[in-house]
Subunit: 215 residues, 3 copies
Amino acid sequence: YLLFCFSFLIKGSVTIKTLVFPSETSDSYVEMVPLKPLQLKAFTLCMRLATELKGEREVILFAYRTGDYDELNVWRELDGRLSFYLSGDGVFFQVPELGALKTHLCVTWDSSSGAATVFMDGRKSLTKIYKKGHTIRAGGKVLLGQDPDSYLGDYDAKQSFVGEVCDVNMWDSVLPDRTIKDLVSGKRVQRGNVFDWETIQLKISGTVEVIHREL
Amino acid sequence: YLLFCFSFLIKGSVTIKTLVFPSETSDSYVEMVPLKPLQLKAFTLCMRLATELKGEREVILFAYRTGDYDELNVWRELDGRLSFYLSGDGVFFQVPELGALKTHLCVTWDSSSGAATVFMDGRKSLTKIYKKGHTIRAGGKVLLGQDPDSYLGDYDAKQSFVGEVCDVNMWDSVLPDRTIKDLVSGKRVQRGNVFDWETIQLKISGTVEVIHREL
Amino acid sequence: YLLFCFSFLIKGSVTIKTLVFPSETSDSYVEMVPLKPLQLKAFTLCMRLATELKGEREVILFAYRTGDYDELNVWRELDGRLSFYLSGDGVFFQVPELGALKTHLCVTWDSSSGAATVFMDGRKSLTKIYKKGHTIRAGGKVLLGQDPDSYLGDYDAKQSFVGEVCDVNMWDSVLPDRTIKDLVSGKRVQRGNVFDWETIQLKISGTVEVIHREL
């Protein structure tokens, strides 16, 4: 079915829709409809998430796939590192483990310099040089919850997301560090121009609960 | 002996009494005298603590026991998870390890929904449903430092608290997330109505040092 | 060669020079020229750093050596603990692991009380009593990147620093907790009187890149 909803401002506190993936499945996922094609030479992708999956377990956090390529996949790796892949080998970051506490995670990349960084709760990582000159291709689909090994299929429960995720926003540029710190504290300084969680259209499959939580 | 003391406001910085448990014992503990009976259908319990105990070691963080029941015990589990127990099986949260850095920890629970969460330094966990409809019983005693396996007795050194703890406050309701964030940064927005650390009456047994530290 | 440079204020965001040690070596280091002799009965030493070295690996974070003594060495220990040594045995703190995310680290020590603490991103550790009455001797050299086992020599690649470090500042007193929190958020409330990163003179040896990054 199709879901279309808004966040509400109540007495200075923000209520936000949150997706709950209650258990490991190979068929529960949420497709996010973008505001523009994902032909990208730079991006900032942010989300808030909590997952108690740990130990030797890969977890897909964001999957954008076109016909033949995993264009942009964000992972929690087997060893707890965060990584992202732009159609090919990935780039890895040794960061604190995801867990029951909600983490505000951002990933940034810029083709012209190849600069790749992650932010957790506003703390920036060191910078890695990755896929300088590359362009992400348009025309695919973006999923939360599953990693499609073919175009919208071949899901593996052992890589699925279990936990809570919300506030998924994406920009076609690298935001300043200061702006990302403002996002962490809930200031809506700049709405995503690729994905804007406040107005986003979600297509839900399988068992995913949509609840509203204080930010 | 009986201790009754206040915190002081000095040039914008707050000095607060802190309990230091310097070593593993089976007889050092602090009883906290509540402002009202602990017959509770909801609560927020907060404290600041640091402990370097780790590895395969349980650590009691808060113990409220009536004659026959562990009414509300908060633990650092063997595997590093945080948990709390309302007379029976507990609820567990995969969170960053406690350590030498002081952590502002809160636990919230609401009987009507069963919603249970923890906060570490203002970061909220995902929500778990636990003991919906339950009521915590009045008439017991609250201890820091030891877990009584019978009414005020049978302490186990291997579960005792070693480290520093202060700013233990408790409310008979679930505070808004925003209020908890304010507490972390030292804003005294709302004093605890079950325990208020600024005016609390403490009964100290064994070797526990009381010092004053900047918050 | 000799490096002497400034940080720039751009539209409310601060750009700061950052040292990148790209790989494990036994000959890459940076000497920092102090503003005054390091005859110290108290200090606060702060820096921002990120390193993905982990597992069974010692990492030198700051080394001040006179002819015969390691006067003040700050380490990431084999087991991930942070420590510092004032000519002899050290003091250890069980803290979250250093990693790819930049950490604002401070170490404070006061001879009169022996109080030793660390701060990570403004979070203060419990207090340890260490080397009460001791005085750090003047007349040595301060290095980033290597631990000299003799006076400016005998470097061990297996202890070298790999990663990014910037904003290294030092004071000859213990700063208030509040001031350290302000430093974390980038407020230049008080410039270091032993080392001031904004105007510091650096002498670089080996392969160390100097880049400018947003704070």
